[in-house]
Amino acid sequence: MTQVLDRPVELPAPVSPAERTARRRAFLEWIAIHSLGVAVALFFTLPFVFVFLTSLMSDSQALSRDLIPHTWEWGNYAKVFDTPGFLTWWKNTLLYAGAGTVLTVVSSIPVAYALAKFRFRGRNLSLMLVISMMMLPPQVVVIPMYLFWAKQLDLSGTLWPLIIPMAFGDAFSIFLLRQFLTTIPNEYLDAARVDGCGELRTLLRVVLPMAKPGIAAVALFQFFYAWNDYFGPQIYASENPGAWTLSYGLESFKGAHHTDWNLTMAATVLVMAPVILVFFFAQKAFVEGVTLTGVKG
């Protein structure tokens, strides 16, 4: 029987043996690389999976070596929220992270702008000092700072000693923003000046709209910094559980709940989740920030 073809058959172009081995090699390489990728992905994701599964176990099962819950105890999360203090810690964390971020961004922008675009004596020295402050462990100056806030201003037991300094520029944010602002061509600024804008107007009207990605990255980093900070709240807030933040309070869970790991892991999930959610909404700005603080070539 003759097959009736309504379309011309596209014969594959003849493949030379050399090309065939090349293709086979490329295919094997694809398999090897992607299996390695899956293995590495398991290393990165399994900890999250085990933590999440344990957070859903019953009290008795959390004491066993089982990996998968027999009954799914979603109520564990409600119990975490019912823990005295947990909502206060949320509120405090949002205050510290929110107010701190706003203050940092507002106070760091003019400094970064001056360092990026003004020419003045001592500019390089200032920039080197900014970088030095950025690399300085907070523990180096904590003794005099604690004495200052606690003994002279009587503010220990609150988060104010952590929030107020953010109104005076943060070294890391200044550095990151300065790196970003130097990439804006001077022609834009000159054009604005020719049009009769003062420096402040140039900054507000011309530079800020162009610097949005840099500002977003700084805001995110600062938010995460405050969210993750453990040392600050430990020094200034530890004496007053009413001023604890999530990162500081989380640790007390393991002690307060004698029911072993399940509630502690549920609380851990609740501390991790917001950060990861924020990341998904702002992925681009974040990754840009990481590459920007890494060196330029």
Binding site: I33, A41, R65, G255, V295
Partner: protein, 313 residues
Amino acid sequence: MSTITLASKRRRSALRTAAFMSPWLIGFAVFFAYPMISTVYFSFMQYDGFKPPTWSGTKNWTYVFEHYPYFWPALRNTLWLVLITVTLRVAFGLGVGLLITKIRTGTGVFRTLFYLPYLAPPVAATMAFAFLLNPGTGPVNSILEGIGIPAPGWFNDPSWSKPALTLLALWGIGDLMVIFMAALLDVPREQYEAAELDGASAWQRFRFVTLPNISPIVMFAVVTGVIQTMQYYAQPLIAGKVASGVIQGAGTQFEPGYPDKSTLTLPQLVYNLGFQRFDYGSACVVALVLFALSMAFTALLMRRRGGLIQAGD
């Protein structure tokens, strides 16, 4: 006439600069210069926060270097972490960065999965690893014993606690991965093609094309890794606290470094001396050691020629 306007113009521009710089100038004076001078001052004083400080010469310094039982273990731990953890982190970060540039299918998904652990708040990530690696009911040891491998004590065993911290540090490799990925994509393609034409093997291409091109980034990763190790605080502290079973709260004193001083780091000593023993003078001595070490490595980053962060234009 014209010199006067020039002078006034210059004064105006200096004032403008000062105005823009003012938040940081105040911050620098109040939160850096003043406390630094004060830290040096207190390092020569005997002070417990209640009785007025009294001059004690070099007593605090000899105490920290010769009698304080935690100082040398903390320094040894820091050296261990610098040599092993930083090296492994750079190697692993580079490896994962290379892998992600080779992955063709589902790149976005892989990249996000590789990056996510870096975002986990340090306290939460440490709690998670303290659970994952706990010798009693932890999933890791359950699996290891299931396949017949003797399970280590991790955070409860002095010789395994730093390897466990290293594992935690490798888990959060996302920052290095992104930096290395950007650097790898910047390597000029022509150089690879030329090397291939010369018959270079994959290893030779990596050794003679990739590495020379990204070596400034490798240096950057090493130096910032060392600086981060100087500041290493929450992870070793929480791991020690959770593993030792100490409950946080009033009246409980945690002896840092559990198990057997193996997780002590310099920042923990400032806390221990200052806020547990109320020996502010000695705490300031450790703070100054920490300062000197951090600044030495920061200077490496800013070296004028071939510096990694260009301060000038």
